[in-house]
């Protein structure tokens, strides 16, 4: 069974946690997330021009690059994570250019070697899948696609075609870390996607509190939290692991209990 299937196959919804690689003590921060209950890890690859990200993740990208983080460093964080956490799905998330710089085959091979389960590339839509998708699939890495409120019914099959792992539903048309969508809209869109696909659907963008996370977990297979965690890394530096543990525990408790509440 793939790590994704295990993570999303539990009776409770999954908590997906994002931080940017090379921002703060990455290994300690990742351990804190997993120990506090994260089911899936998204590790951000820093990029100079994070066009789809809001201020919090932009700042994290700049801090990471300012500290000298390289692609080799990101892959090393991934490799070390896989050694410490053999069962937790690990996703690299980022932008096309750092991923295709040495060629898609190089990147796919390096990611596979590092034990990466999936890749989210923000700026490679299905139309440009050739740029990375075939190389990932050949190495058994799941290309995880994004669906958004602007992805209509006619387009959805194209997004799902060639997707694997899970589908990331971006709940607002916008950048990361800003406003959150109405739960009714999220519920309707997740239901729509699930009619067309067996893939688990994780919902993100703008999720900051356990209450928000619980509300989404009631209607989706997973909840993605990023900016709120990245802000903690930015604010607390070396003390971030303890603070990350605090928020992640609360988020995990809320997400994991969501369906029980619902059925109770």
């Amino acid at each position: 069974m793939s790590r994704f299937a295990s993570a999303f196959g539990k009776s409770a919804p999954a908590l997906v946690c994002f931080i940017t690689a090379g921002d703060g003590d990455t290994a300690a921060n990742l351990d804190a997330l997993v120990e506090a209950g994260a089911d899936v890890i998204e590790l951000g690859m820093p990029f100079t021009d994070p066009m789809a990200d809001g201020p919090a993740i932009q700042a994290a990208n700049l801090r990471s690059l300012g500290a000298g983080t390289t692609t080799a460093d990101v892959l090393r964080y991934a490799t070390d994570f896989r050694t410490r956490h053999p069962d937790v799905p690990l996703v690299l998330m980022g932008y096309a250019n750092p991923m295709v710089r040495r060629g898609p085959e190089w990147f796919a091979a390096a990611a596979a070697e590092a034990g990466v389960d999936g890749v989210i590339c923000v700026d490679i839509p299905p139309e440009e899948d050739d740029a990375l998708g075939p190389a990932l699939r050949a190495r058994g890495i799941a290309p995880i696609r994004l669906a958004t409120p602007t992805t209509d019914a006619a387009r959805l099959p194209q997004v799902l075609e060639g997707s694997a792992g899970f589908l990331y539903y971006v709940s607002v048309a916008g950048i990361t870390g800003k406003q959150q969508a109405a739960i009714e809209s999220i519920e309707a869109n997740v239901a729509r996607i699930k009619q067309s696909s067996d893939l688990p659907v994780a919902v993100g963008f703008g999720v900051r509190t356990p209450e928000q996370a619980a509300a989404i977990a009631r209607v989706a297979d997973g909840v993605v939290v990023g900016s709120a965690l990245v802000e903690i890394v930015g604010e607390y530096g070396a003390d971030a692991p303890a603070k990350l543990r605090e928020l992640t525990s609360a988020l995990a408790a809320a997400v994991h209990a969501a369906r029980q509440e619902q059925t109770a």
């Binding site: 021009d49 066009m51 990200d53 809001g54 994004l146 669906a147 992805t151 916008g174 950048i175």
Partner: protein, 411 residues
């Protein structure tokens, strides 16, 4: 028109690819919008009323056709450097005489007509030197649409007159402080605005770059330059020019001039990038000559980047050329060998700037000053009866402060 199989003028393909370049590398949120834009643009292209309105505005509002000018004194000056029998005639396509002082307005007219046709009610744009921002603010004022211009905070500081112009024209200018606070960061912020306001907002991209259909669409709107020049030259001299020269940041003025001539085999073309302090260091903005292929801002093209694919900051004395990428069609034209590319340093551009002021009584923008410097090198090597046609794509009023500072003159 020539559309046979071996044409250089039938790019891109239906996915927006110019060979391996171009494409639609955008976030999923923007993808449906980009596809919709392409559909609407195709309809507009096929609609004679759209073309008629575009032509009418270019004639009566922009001031087209711009003159084709034989420049006798710069021709004479450069011929002094030539071997006997050499020293080409120098001609200029005078797009600096357009309303707002540069070629940028051609594209803005086209895009705002498309925006209104699509029912969009809010316009955004990015700007570097401020020329595209001014042109966008101008058409927004002309058609009564609210306008938000993203401009790197560094550029806001060094281009104060253009910031004031945009404000006079009713635009909101938002300084962008992320990254190096220049053009690429302004473009990032424009994309972030667009992704959050897809329902009512049209993004007027200022150069022949970005996701398909922008590179093709901007090129087509700017092709009025080359179409006019080709007809004017044939009318005046009965022949085609031997060499076209244009400066390149993103590359829209160059494509506008080059594209209508691409299938004229006798016409050679030279694109001029900004070499800043020199191509041997990092302080330049020559994506083609000093960069490598990658993906940024919606397209695959040549970029200034490090070994990990991180984008590096360009440098040029000209804020309008100071961008770490280039339109994807130029990347393709370079690889196909149809167009030659060279680069000119800040110092050479400053000399070109002064040469034109002195010999022809025209103060050029620093962007075409790079092309002038290239003309000054190449014209003396060409036969006396040959013709060099350069796109004089902008006037230099905006640059006199930068030039004064570089020449050590206090105003």
């Amino acid at each position: 028109m020539n559309t046979h199989l071996n044409s250089f003028r039938n790019q891109p393909d239906d996915r927006g690819h110019f060979g391996q370049f171009g494409g639609r590398y955008v976030a999923e949120t923007l993808m449906p919008l980009v596809l919709d834009l392409e559909r609407e643009y195709r309809k507009a292209q096929a609609d004679p009323a759209f073309q008629a309105e575009f032509d009418d505005l270019l004639e009566h509002y922009v001031g087209r056709p711009s003159p084709l000018y034989f420049a006798p004194r710069i021709t004479e000056e450069l011929a002094k450097l030539a071997q006997p029998g050499n020293g080409a005639q120098v001609w200029f396509k005078r797009d600096e005489l357009n309303h707002t002082g540069a070629h940028k307005i051609n594209n803005c007219i086209g895009q705002i007509l498309l925006a209104m046709r699509m029912g969009k009610t809010r316009i955004i744009a990015e700007t570097g030197a401020g020329q595209h921002g001014v042109a966008t603010a101008t058409v927004c004022a002309r058609f009564g649409l609210p306008c938000v211009i993203y401009m790197g905070a560094t550029d806001v500081a060094r281009q104060a007159p253009n910031v004031f112009r945009m404000k006079l024209l009713g635009a909101e200018v938002i300084p962008v402080t992320s990254g190096g606070a220049t053009l690429k960061d302004a473009m990032n912020e424009g994309l972030r605005d667009w992704v959050a306001n897809v329902h009512d907002t049209f993004y007027i991209i200022g150069t022949a770059a970005g996701p398909h259909p922008y590179p093709e669409m901007v090129r087509n709107f700017q092709s009025v330059i080359g179409k006019e020049a080709r007809a004017q030259m044939l009318n005046r001299t009965g022949r085609l020019p031997d060499l076209l020269v244009a400066c390149i940041g993103g590359g829209s003025n160059a494509l506008g001039l080059f594209h209508p001539f691409l299938d004229d085999p006798s016409v050679k073309m030279l694109g001029v990038e900004a070499a800043g302090h020199g191509l041997d260091g990092d302080e330049h903005a020559a994506s083609l000559l000093g960069g490598s292929p990658g993906v940024l801002h919606g397209n695959r093209t040549y970029l200034l980047q490090d070994e990990d694919g991180q984008i590096t900051e360009g440098h040029s004395i000209s804020a309008g050329l100071d961008y770490p990428g280039i339109g994807p069609e130029h990347a393709w034209l370079k690889e196909s060998g149809r167009v030659d590319y060279t680069a000119v340093t800040d110092d050479e551009a400053l000399e070109g700037f002064q040469l034109l002021c002195r010999t022809e009584g025209i103060i050029p923008a620093l962007e075409p000053a790079h092309a002038i410097a290239a003309v000054a090198k190449v014209a003396p090597t060409m036969p006396k009866d040959s013709i060099v046609l350069m796109n004089l794509c902008g006037r230099g009023d905006k640059d006199i402060f930068t030039v004064a500072e570089r020449l050590g003159v206090e105003l």
